[in-house]
Amino acid sequence: MSGRNSTCRRVCLACLIYAVMSYPAWAQTKLDPKLPEYKPAQGVSGNLKSIGSDTMNNEMTLWAEGFLKFYPNVQAEIEGKGSTTGPPALIDGTAHFAPMSRPMKGKEIDDFKKKHGFPPTALPTSIDMLAVYVHKDNPIKRLTMQQVDAIFSRTRKGGFDKAINTWGDLGLGGEWKDKPIALYGRNSASGTYGYFREHALFNGDFRDEVKEQPGSSSVVQGVASDKYAIGYSGIGYKTADVRAVPLAPDSKSEAVPAEADRAYAGEYPLARMLLVYVNRKPGAELDPLRREFVRYLYSKQGQSDVLRCGYLPIGEVIATKALASVGLKR
């Protein structure tokens, strides 16, 4: 399990590195000009169903909206109740696409293989920065990953020496000194939950006090309405009422703000690939509907949709590679 997981991680890491290579740091959140313009094909119709990540729910919806402009009688149905709901739907064939904010787990891949005889194909589509949000008035300057672990987890596998319960424990003074930290997080069905647990909690366990929210946006809203709160959610959901705290990998390093170039540079510790899984028999051709949707994802239009929902688009190199993985040339 861990072996397979680490392959997944390696894939993602590779993708991130590609992203870095294909992007000069100054490009920020601009589109890669080398991405192709989308040209509609003929005879695409049918029902396009996507079930999976909540983080990518809006992204999927934007893609579908954009795709539907080209194919108005395609029926797109988007469901996003958490990454965990994706694999079963893909295995069952109830969904054509399973957007996931984390790579599939070994067991999920095994289940898929058992039914279909080959593994599902993961398409890296965009990059998210998982941000740790605090209320806009919160003066906290930075957090180390070990501190984040000590805030959210009861196991403290990150190695911080004591549990952090109040803002005073993080060095804030004044009225903040003995205010307890209110914790907001996602429900366990979400990929964000899994990813945060793996990378910020070092595979530890969440505290029981974490208020598990049904959606990424509700985490942000929870933090916005609670002055002493902290929570984690995708960068796409940031509002003016919250602030993303710069994160440092450890106490000696510099804290990295949740900004695009830092993610492309591979410095932001909680940057992750947002994936879309498809069911494709190796060597087989995708049906027109799915083929065109995948092509749309990796077009200028598709990646500009990524920008519109606040995530980071990928570059042409990853796009070409991803298209090749489902047998498509750009």
Partner: protein, 663 residues
């Protein structure tokens, strides 16, 4: 002992003139007076009413003001940033000491002093600054002490775009074919007003062409493709049927290709024409942006509007909200699909739930002899009404979607049931038919005998019912194991058609959820039909069914309608179960539309309740979505109220027909 103890008591009786011992009155007991209970009950009522009214007023106000156009404010902060936007909220707060350190040194003391004078409290306003494509944020908080200069620019323009959300800026040029034809704001605005309607008209024509023209083509092509696939499944690739289907497909494809090219060129011309018109704007911080007119839904100079203009914009926004499809992951545009989805689902549900509920109630109240079984059934029904709705959702998903739906899609194999060998199946079929026929015959004889009030007839009737029940399970078994059915949508597999959530399954699930409401209401109204009416009918020689149909049902109709109203109100507002059986975030195709067969029961649908949930908890831009939450809530309340008013109106009409005062 007895006497001695009695004597002093008599003596000590208070005011003992009469010598009679009276129970001392607790005249000042609070409970003995009526007022506390009046205050208590009245107070409870007032609290309840206040809560309801408060809720409604909140939703009403918040929902109603959302679309009112607001003034544009341009703010330059002391650290040199410039923002242009609408003020959406304001609040006061106590700034931390660090807040001031970020200000330039000269302003720092001034700001600190100002805040100190206000007892440490500062005001800040949330500006909706838009321009997300340029800045990466939608909103910005600005505290009063940060402001160096504030103004309301005359030509500040609010531009609502198809993509990327609002744009705020001042116009610098109107471009025709890339050439500047106007550069004075007045002229630019005149040009915009002049051309925008035509552009919007062309745009909607091209969307229509795309949707209906190209849509119909691909539908045709898809049908041919499916037919070919079906032929392949049924007869094999080398069969003549496949060859025919293949030929047909090729024909359709080539025909469509021509038509497709024609429509596309038409769309292209429209778009080309539209591309000629562009608007150049400059943002508050000096960036230039060229917007094609086709991308602009609506634009207005916010600070130059007369009251009439504001009203116009307000209503045009409402119109857009009610008649357009959503944009920008549901945060903008309209909610037409959600309205349709909600209404279609509710009506479909009523269509199912009313007949079933009424028949069940009729049986319970008119036919069934009261006994322990009936009591248990009644209790069960009443408890059904109290089951958490999500349970119904789970049931609906498991039973309707994954069992019935998959069976419809792909036959027995698709639900992991091995079909019976044909010989066995026919044998089982024969047995079922025989039992069914026997039940029918016995029932018939029994009915004839029962008319003569013989006890034998009643036994026969029970026997027939038992036989019916006995044949029911085998019927299901035989149907499920049929070797001759491999699904109506086999060619479409593995894509599910009915084997997933859809408006039909959602309606059935909600029907299940609301059937107790209808049963209880109907039973009550049946019970309220005076027995004297029934007796009068029987005395005229009417049979039971005639009495029910002609006397009892018409008289109970208003009550049945009440049940239906309650069921509809409950059904339309229920969100949890339908999330599992067909409500989705985006389903721009309506469950009811102008394409044959008009009602598409297998389609997923959007629902206002779910839309509210989605806006509230999953929205990209929760700040912008919040007012939409209220507006959508207002709309949902409005629709439920409208459905109710319709039903109430119908009911009162019926009432007037049947229930004029007794004397």
């Amino acid at each position: 002992m007895n006497a001695s103890s009695l004597a002093p008591v008599t003596e000590n009786t208070p005011g003992g003139k009469s010598g009679r011992s009276r129970r001392p009155r607790k005249g000042n007991s609070v409970l003995a007076q009526g007022e506390p209970s009046i205050w208590g009950t009245g107070g409870a009522l007032v609290v309840a009413i206040t809560m309801i009214v408060g809720l409604l007023v909140l939703v009403l106000i918040q929902g109603a003001v959302t679309f009112w156009p607001m003034d544009l404010v341009r703010i330059r902060t002391v650290d040199g940033k410039v923002y242009l936007g609408e003020v959406t909220r304001e609040e006061t707060y106590r700034p931390e000491a660090e807040v001031f350190t970020s200000l330039p040194p000269r302003e720092r003391d001034r700001a600190r002093e100002a805040v100190q004078q206000a007892a440490g409290v500062a005001r800040r306003r949330l500006l909706r600054t838009g321009n997300y494509d340029l800045t990466g944020f939608h909103h910005q908080w600005v505290s009063d002490f940060q402001i160096a200069e504030e103004s309301k620019p005359e030509w500040g323009l609010v531009v609502e775009r198809l993509t990327w959300g609002n744009f705020y800026g001042t116009p610098t040029a109107f471009l025709l074919d890339g050439k500047e034809v106007a550069s004075d704001p007045d002229d630019i605005w005149a040009q915009f007003v002049n051309h925008h309607d035509a552009v919007a008209e062309r745009f909607s024509r091209s969307v229509d062409l795309n949707r209906h023209g190209i849509g119909a083509l691909s539908r045709k092509q898809n049908a041919a493709l499916l037919a070919r696939k079906q032929a392949e499944i049924s007869y094999g690739k080398s069969s003549s049927e496949y060859a025919v289907a293949d030929k047909q497909f090729a024909e359709v494809e080539s025909a469509c290709k021509e038509e497709d090219a024609r429509i596309k060129s038409e769309i292209n011309t429209l778009n080309k024409e539209n591309d000629r018109f562009q608007l150049r704007l400059v943002t508050a911080d000096g960036q230039e942006k060229i917007l094609p007119l086709a991308d602009i839904v609506r634009a207005y100079p916010a600070n130059r509007l007369s009251f009439g203009d504001e009203v116009g914009i307000y209503f045009s926004r409402w119109a857009e909200f009610l008649t357009q499809r959503p944009r920008q992951a549901n945060t903008e545009g309209g909610v037409l699909p959600a309205i349709w989805g909600t209404v279609a689902m509710t009506l479909l549900m009523s269509l199912v739930v009313v007949p079933f509920g009424v028949l069940a109630a009729l049986y319970l109240r008119e036919y069934a002899k009261s006994g322990p079984i009936i009591s248990v059934v009644r209790i069960a029904i009443n408890n059904l009404a109290g089951v958490p709705s999500i349970v119904f959702g789970v049931f609906g998903m498991g039973f309707f979607c994954y069992l019935v739906g998959k069976f419809i899609d792909g036959g027995p194999q698709h639900i992991q049931v091995a079909p019976m060998p044909p010989a066995w199946w026919w044998l089982a079929m024969l047995a079922v038919v025989l039992v069914g026929a026997a039940a029918f015959l016995v029932g018939l004889i029994g009915a004839r005998d029962r008319a003569k009030e013989s006890r034998f007839g009643r036994y026969l009737g029970r026997f027939a019912v038992a036989l019916w029940l006995l044949s029911l399970a085998p019927v299901v078994y035989v149907v499920v194991h049929t070797p001759y059915f491999s699904g109506f949508y086999e060619a479409n597999l593995p894509s599910p058609t009915f084997g997933t959530g859809g408006v039909l399954w959602a309606s059935l699930t909600l029907a299940l959820l609301t059937v107790p409401v209808v049963i209880v209401a109907t039973e009550e109204s049946l019970a309220a039909v005076p027995n004297s009416m029934r007796e009068g009918s029987y005395a005229c020689g009417a049979s039971k069914w005639q009495t029910i149909r002609r006397i009892v049902l018409p008289r109970a109709l208003p009550g049945i309608m009440t049940g239906m109203i309650l069921a509809m109100a409950r059904g339309a507002g229920e969100v949890a179960p339908i999330m599992l059986v067909g409500a989705v975030k985006l389903a721009p195709e309506l469950p009811v539309d102008g394409v044959f067969p008009y009602l598409h029961p297998s389609r997923s649908f959007m629902h206002l309740g779910f839309h509210i949930y989605d806006l509230g908890f999953q929205s990209l831009n929760s700040e912008a979505a919040r007012p939409m939450v209220y507006t959508t809530t207002l709309l949902l309340i409005g629709i439920v109220a409208l459905l109710n008013v319709m039903a109430v109106w119908l009911r009162s009409r019926l009432r007037r027909r049947y229930l004029v005062s007794q004397f």
